[in-house]
């Protein structure tokens, strides 16, 4: 198995942790000395750079949250001058005012390095062509993957989003092996291909999908493989940290988090305390080498697990699991936490149902009512209404078992729910609280 940077990717665990500690110490010293923002934060938390003696001491440092990036003036957060900055990106603003992130040349280099390692780990090489069908522009997906793939030496097709027929023509003509896009967009491309009479398996060389920017499940991964023959590789990142950063290797048992670039903690979202090995919690990240907008203990809001056991691929860096939800994307229905990804998991486990769904939440009197609209596949339709009702009941009971919440199920015609080229918007919350 090929490795982009074997020296670092295969570095023995002890040595890697030693490197991390060295980088963490120097980061904290640098920020305490040069960033008024971090100095105030650390003083308020009664912690000084000298208190960082081991990696566990990172817990002494205060958390950073998305609100900090939104509310604190850029000039206080940034530690690079305009002369040193080479680029800005901004978050999508799905959950509020967009946050702006700046990059020095070194930041862009590290970002590209991180993705280059990941792309090679999932089977993409210098000989391959990669189509980047994430949005280019302020959104980090397009340019992030573009620079990473170029760094690797792959050939890039910067198709960006939209115009699905054109995307498919490019995939066919240019022998594209991998596509980077959202999982829902890849499914949509599959539908368009079928309409155009293109069999992805037979008529194209497309075999790898580097998929992220929205929550998705193993059920969706199976479905993508079954219908298109494309192996879905999970990729993770958030605009606050750079953008897309880590993806799964060919073993597909978690996303390798490069320890020389980031220090990862999993904490209980309520208490902020570290959880036990393998336990679910909120992903907290310290970027060890960022220059323009340093990030210490950033609470991502993403719920996941971490695995530090060795990976069969030989890489020594820890892996984070699939994001099982977001603390801010979580719906509270009648007091119970519900993640849209759990609903997706249930729906995709049923072969009669399509890939698209929508969750509508209303409040009737004092009670929350959740309706799940899901597309019935043509193969799932039978001219026997009793059987359709049995199917509805089965969906409802599976959802009840998984979520502990009742949902009203509406079966709708294929193609009738909205399709998304970027992040899918699955939830319509009509509650006025």
């Amino acid at each position: 198995m090929s490795c982009w940077n074997p020296k670092v990717e295969m570095m023995p665990g002890d040595e890697l942790r030693g490197l991390q500690l060295k980088l963490l110490k120097s980061l904290v010293y640098r920020l305490y000395s040069f960033s008024p923002f971090y100095r105030e934060r650390m003083d308020a938390a009664h912690v000084s750079p000298d208190d960082i003696k081991t990696l566990d001491d990172v817990e002494k440092l205060p958390f950073m949250v998305k609100g900090d990036l939104r509310d604190i003036p850029m000039e206080r957060l940034f530690t690079a001058s305009n002369r040193e900055l080479v680029r800005y990106h901004a978050s999508s603003g799905t959950t509020g005012k967009p946050t702006i992130v700046g990059y020095t040349k070194h930041d862009v280099d590290n970002w590209s390095e991180s993705i280059a390692r990941g792309l090679m780990s999932c089977g993409i090489t210098q000989d391959d062509t990669v189509q980047v069908a994430y949005t280019y522009g302020l959104f980090t997906g397009g340019l992030g993957l573009h620079y990473g793939a170029e760094r690797l030496g792959a050939t890039v097709v910067p198709s960006s989003t939209g115009n699905s027929e054109r995307q498919l023509d490019l995939i066919k003509t240019l022998n594209v092996k991998a596509i980077a896009c959202t999982p829902s967009y890849l499914m949509h491309l599959g539908e368009v291909a079928a309409k155009m009479g293109i069999d992805i398996r037979k008529d194209t060389k497309l075999r790898i999908g580097v998929l992220g920017a929205e929550p998705w499940s193993d059920g969706m991964r199976d479905r993508i493989f079954e219908s298109l023959g494309v192996r879905g590789i999970n990729i993770y990142g958030t605009s606050e940290l750079s953008g897309p950063l880590w993806c799964e290797c060919e073993r597909q048992n978690g996303m390798h988090v490069w320890s020389d670039l980031a220090l990862v903690e999993i904490v209980d979202p309520k208490t902020g305390k570290k959880v036990g090995p393998g336990e679910k919690g909120e992903l907290v990240i310290t970027m060890l080498q960022k220059e323009a907008l340093p990030i210490i203990r950033y609470r991502t809001g993403d719920i996941t697990t971490m695995d530090e056991t060795p990976c069969a691929c030989g890489r020594t860096h820890p892996r984070i699991g699939r994001i099982s939800g977001r603390s801010d994307d979580m719906l509270i229905i009648r007091g119970i936490n519900v993640f849209p990804s759990q609903i997706e998991y249930v729906l995709l486990s049923m072969p009669q149902l399509g890939n698209e769904f929508q969750i509508i939440v209303e409040r009737t009197g004092a009670l929350d009512e959740m309706t799940v609209k899901v597309e019935l596949k043509p193969e799932g339709f039978v001219d026997d209404m009793a059987k359709i009702e049995v199917l509805r009941d089965k969906i409802a009971s599976k959802l009840r078992t998984t979520l502990m919440v009742n949902a009203c199920i509406e079966l709708v015609e294929p193609g009738s729910l909205p399709r998304f080229e970027g992040k899918a918007k699955r939830v319509i919350d009509n509650r006025r609280l």
Binding site: L376, P378, F381, V382, D383, D384, M385, I388, E389, R392, E410, L411, V412, E413, P414, G415, S416
Partner: protein, 146 residues
């Protein structure tokens, strides 16, 4: 013998439809554009959806066109039986089926001078056909709708 029975199996179209304005219109528009005559139809209502059942002058063409329009559609075999258009006509027919223990899953009827037609969907279609034939009632031949 089997061929003989197959003559009476009518390819009915069953269409899954969301419960929203315009779906029957979309269906009938598609049929009109293809110059396909709708001979009989019914709509059954479920929770938030419906099933349109119809038999038409050219079921193959209709199915193809409806699928192209994105409809979820499939064939269901039904049979159409002549009834005397007079009091007791439906009774005579349903009595025959009841006595043979044949359950009607759904039915719809239309008047077709002279007489009336009852369209039924049953589980064991071949047994229903032989029972009805044996009773002396007349079944419509699938080819008679072209």
């Amino acid at each position: 013998m089997a061929d003989d029975l197959d003559r009476y199996k009518i390819k009915q179209l069953s269409i899954f439809s969301e419960n929203r304005p315009g779906r029957l219109m979309d269906f009938s528009k598609a049929m009109g554009e293809e110059n396909i005559n709708i001979l009989a139809f019914s709509i059954a209502e479920g929770a938030g959806y419906g099933v349109i059942r119809a038999f038409v002058s050219d079921p193959e063409k209709a199915l193809r066109r409806l699928q192209e329009h994105g409809f979820v559609v499939r064939y269901t075999d039904v049979i159409a039986i002549h009834m005397a258009d007079k009091p007791g006509g439906l009774y005579d027919l349903t009595k025959v089926l009841k006595e043979a223990g044949i359950n009607i899953e759904y039915a719809y009827a239309y008047r077709n001078e002279p007489g009336a037609i009852l369209v039924i969907r049953v589980e064991d279609i071949e047994r229903a056909i032989s029972t009805i034939k044996a009773s002396g009632a007349k079944l419509l031949d699938a080819s008679s709708f072209k």
